[in-house]
C-alpha cells in the first residue's frame, strides 16, 4: 500500500501551550486511520495543520509526494484533501445543493459550474439528503448538518477525507447510518483520517489507530493493539485496572 499523506515531525505552540509536539504519522491509500486521544490532546490542531488553517512551527507535510507544508486551506483543498468540521460550518444562507456545488467547483476536480451542480446532486443523493437538496443549509437538523459536512467534503472528490467527530451529537440510529456512510466512502477508494470519541465506532471502522496525548503520539497500531496498550488505558481512565472486560473490543 502506498503512502498518501505523510506528516513528519510537526509541532505547533500556542503561547505557553505546546499543542502538537513533533508528531509524525502516515495515511495510506484506501485506509481509515483513526486519531484518538483525551480532550485537549491536540487532535483538531493536527487537522488544522494538515489542511493549512495555520502553518506548523516545525516539520513538513507531504501529500501524494508533494510538499504542502504551510499552504493555505484553499490550495490544500485543490490537492485533494477535504474536511468535515467538528463544529458544523454550513453556508447557512445557501441551499444544500449549492453548499455541495461549492465543494465540487473549488475542490480537487475544480469542475465548471454546470458539471459541479450535477456532481453535487449525485453526492447529495448518495449521502441521503436528496429530499432536502433545495432547502437552506441553515434549516437542517444537527444530524442533517453533519451529513451536509460530509456531502460537501465528498463533492470535491477528495483523495483524503478529514473527518472531525462526525458522530458527535448523533442519536444511535443516526450514528449507525453515518458509520455505514463512512464505510461506503472508504470502499469507494477514498482514504480517511478520522477523529472520533465514540470508541465502538472508531474501533470497528479503523484499519489503524494513532493515539495522541498532550500533543505527542502515545501509541499506534491496529485497534486491538491500541486497546490493549496499558499507556492508552491510563491516559483515558487514569488507571488501567478500571477498564472492565465489557468495554474491551471483541
Amino acid at each position: 500500500m502506498s503512502t498518501l499523506l505523510e506528516v513528519s515531525h510537526i509541532s505547533k505552540r500556542f503561547g505557553g501551550l505546546q499543542a502538537v509536539d513533533r508528531l509524525s504519522l502516515t495515511v495510506n491509500e484506501g485506509e481509515i486511520l483513526g486519531l484518538i486521544g483525551p480532550n485537549g490532546a491536540g487532535k483538531s490542531t493536527v487537522f488544522n495543520l494538515i489542511n493549512g488553517v495555520y502553518p506548523p512551527d516545525t516539520g513538513r507535510i507531504f501529500f501524494a509526494g508533494q510538499d504542502i507544508t504551510g499552504e493555505p486551506p484553499y490550495r490544500v483543498a485543490r490537492h485533494g484533501i477535504s474536511r468535515a468540521h467538528q463544529i458544523v460550518q454550513p453556508l447557512a444562507g445557501l441551499s444544500v445543493l449549492d453548499n455541495c456545488t461549492v465543494g465540487a467547483c473549488f475542490g480537487r476536480q475544480a469542475l465548471p459550474l454546470a458539471a459541479a451542480r450535477k456532481a453535487a446532486r449525485e453526492v447529495v443523493e448518495m449521502i441521503g439528503l436528496g429530499d432536502r437538496a433545495d432547502s437552506l443549509a441553515g434549516s437542517l437538523t444537527t444530524a442533517g448538518k453533519k451529513r451536509l459536512e460530509m456531502a460537501r467534503a465528498l463533492s470535491a472528490r477528495p483523495r483524503l477525507l478529514l473527518l472531525d467527530e462526525v458522530l458527535a451529537g448523533l442519536n444511535p440510529t443516526e450514528t449507525e447510518r453515518m458509520i455505514e456512510t463512512v464505510r461506503k466512502i472508504r470502499d469507494s477508494g477514498v482514504a480517511i483520517l478520522m477523529i472520533e470519541h465514540i470508541m465502538r465506532a472508531v474501533m470497528s471502522l479503523s484499519d489503524r489507530i494513532v493515539v495522541l496525548n498532550l500533543g505527542t503520539k502515545l501509541a499506534e497500531g491496529t485497534p486491538r493493539e491500541v486497546a490493549d496498550n496499558p499507556d492508552v488505558i491510563t491516559a483515558y481512565l487514569g488507571d488501567s485496572k478500571l477498564l472492565t472486560a465489557a468495554e474491551r473490543p471483541a
Partner: protein
C-alpha cells in the same frame, strides 16, 4: 446567458428608460432619471461587495469620484473624447482597486469597513492637494469640451444614454456574476469565509477581484456624470454621505439579489427628491435614511425583495 429571460428584461427596461424622456422631450425628467440611474449603478456594484461577498464598503464613492477626476482631466488637459476618457478612468480605478484590495481585504468586518472610509478620506485629501487636478477648487469644463459630441445640448442627451447603458451593464454584470462559479465562490465567502477557504475557494484573490470589479462601472459612471455636470471638486466627488446612502439603497431593495439594489436606489432617489422639496428641513432625507436603515436591519434584513421571497417563496425563481 441570453437564453434566460432576465437579461432580455433588463435590456428592454433600459431601452424604455433611455427613450422615455427623449420622446417626452423633457429635460427635467432626464436629469432626475439620470441621477436615479447613477444611484442604481452605485448600489448595484456595491451589492457585489455587500450582498455577494459580505464585505461592507463604506468608502465606495471613492471609485465614482476618482473615475470622474481622471475622465475630466483627460478631457480638459489632454482634449480626449469623453468616451475613451471615461473608460480609461474605469480601467485605472479598477486596477488601483485590485492593488488596494489585496491589502485591505485582509481585514474583516468592522476593520475592513473602517479601512474603506480611510481610503476615501485619504484620496480626497490627496486630490485637495494635487494642483494638476485643480486642488480644492477642482476642474471646470469649458463649452468647447462638449464640441466632440456635437455641442452641449446633444452632448447631454448622449451622456444620458451612455449612463443608462452603464446602468444596464451593471445589472447584467451582477446577473452574470450571480450565475457564475466566481459568484458562487463570493456567496460562499459571504456566508462563512473560513469554511469557503477549506472548501477550496481562493478567498484573497476572489475578494480582491470583486473589489476591483465593483469599482469599474461606478468609475466610468463618475466620468460621465461629472462630464455632464461640467465641474468636479473634492467635496462632492468623495462625499461620504453618498456612500452611506448607497448602503441604505442596497439594504432597502434587498442585498444579495440582482434587482433589489436597483429597486432600492430608484425608490430612495424618488423619496429623496420628494423630501428635498420640503424647505423647512434641509437634508431631511438623511434622517429618513438613518431611520430606514435601522428598521430594515432590525425587521426585514432581506430588504424588499428578501421580504417578497420569504413571503412568496415561488417568486425566488424568476424575481432575482
Amino acid at each position: 446567458m441570453w437564453r434566460r429571460p432576465f437579461p432580455w428584461f433588463i435590456a428592454a427596461a433600459a431601452l424604455v428608460y433611455a427613450l422615455y424622456p427623449y420622446l417626452a422631450d423633457d429635460v427635467g425628467l432626464r436629469e432626475s432619471l439620470l441621477l436615479a440611474a447613477v444611484y442604481i449603478i452605485l448600489a448595484s456594484n456595491l451589492n457585489l461587495m455587500i450582498g455577494y461577498a459580505g464585505y461592507v464598503n463604506f468608502g465606495n464613492i471613492v471609485f465614482f469620484g476618482l473615475g470622474g477626476y481622471i475622465c475630466l482631466y483627460l478631457v480638459t488637459a489632454l482634449h480626449w473624447n469623453v468616451i475613451p476618457a471615461a473608460l480609461v478612468g474605469g480601467v485605472a480605478v479598477s486596477s488601483l482597486a485590485l492593488l488596494f484590495g489585496l491589502g485591505i481585504l485582509r481585514l474583516r468586518g468592522a476593520f475592513f469597513a473602517l479601512a474603506t472610509i480611510g481610503v476615501n478620506q485619504a484620496i480626497q485629501q490627496l486630490v485637495v492637494n494635487f494642483e494638476p487636478w485643480g486642488g480644492a477648487t477642482g476642474i471646470y469644463l469649458s463649452l468647447e469640451s462638449y464640441g466632440s459630441l456635437g455641442g452641449p445640448m446633444q452632448a447631454l442627451w448622449i451622456t444620458y444614454l451612455m449612463v443608462v447603458g452603464v446602468t444596464a451593464g451593471s445589472l447584467l454584470a451582477s446577473y452574470a456574476i450571480r450565475n457564475s462559479k466566481f459568484g458562487l465562490g463570493l456567496l460562499a465567502i459571504g456566508q462563512n469565509e473560513d469554511a469557503a477557504a477549506v472548501l477550496g475557494v481562493p478567498t484573497p484573490l476572489y475578494k480582491a477581484m470583486v473589489y476591483s470589479a465593483s469599482a469599474f462601472l461606478p468609475a466610468v459612471a463618475g466620468g460621465l456624470y461629472f462630464f455632464k455636470s461640467g465641474i468636479i471638486e473634492p467635496t462632492s466627488a468623495f462625499n461620504l454621505q453618498t456612500s452611506i446612502e448607497a448602503i441604505v439603497m442596497v439594504m432597502l431593495g434587498g442585498s444579495g439579489t440582482i434587482l433589489g439594489p436597483a429597486l432600492g436606489a430608484f425608490l430612495y432617489e424618488e423619496l429623496r427628491g420628494f423630501l428635498l422639496t420640503a424647505e423647512s428641513f434641509s437634508q431631511f432625507q438623511l434622517v429618513i435614511a438613518g431611520a430606514l436603515l435601522l428598521l430594515i436591519v432590525q425587521f426585514v434584513p432581506g430588504g424588499l425583495l428578501g421580504f417578497v421571497h420569504q413571503r412568496w417563496p415561488r417568486t425566488r425563481r424568476w424575481l432575482e
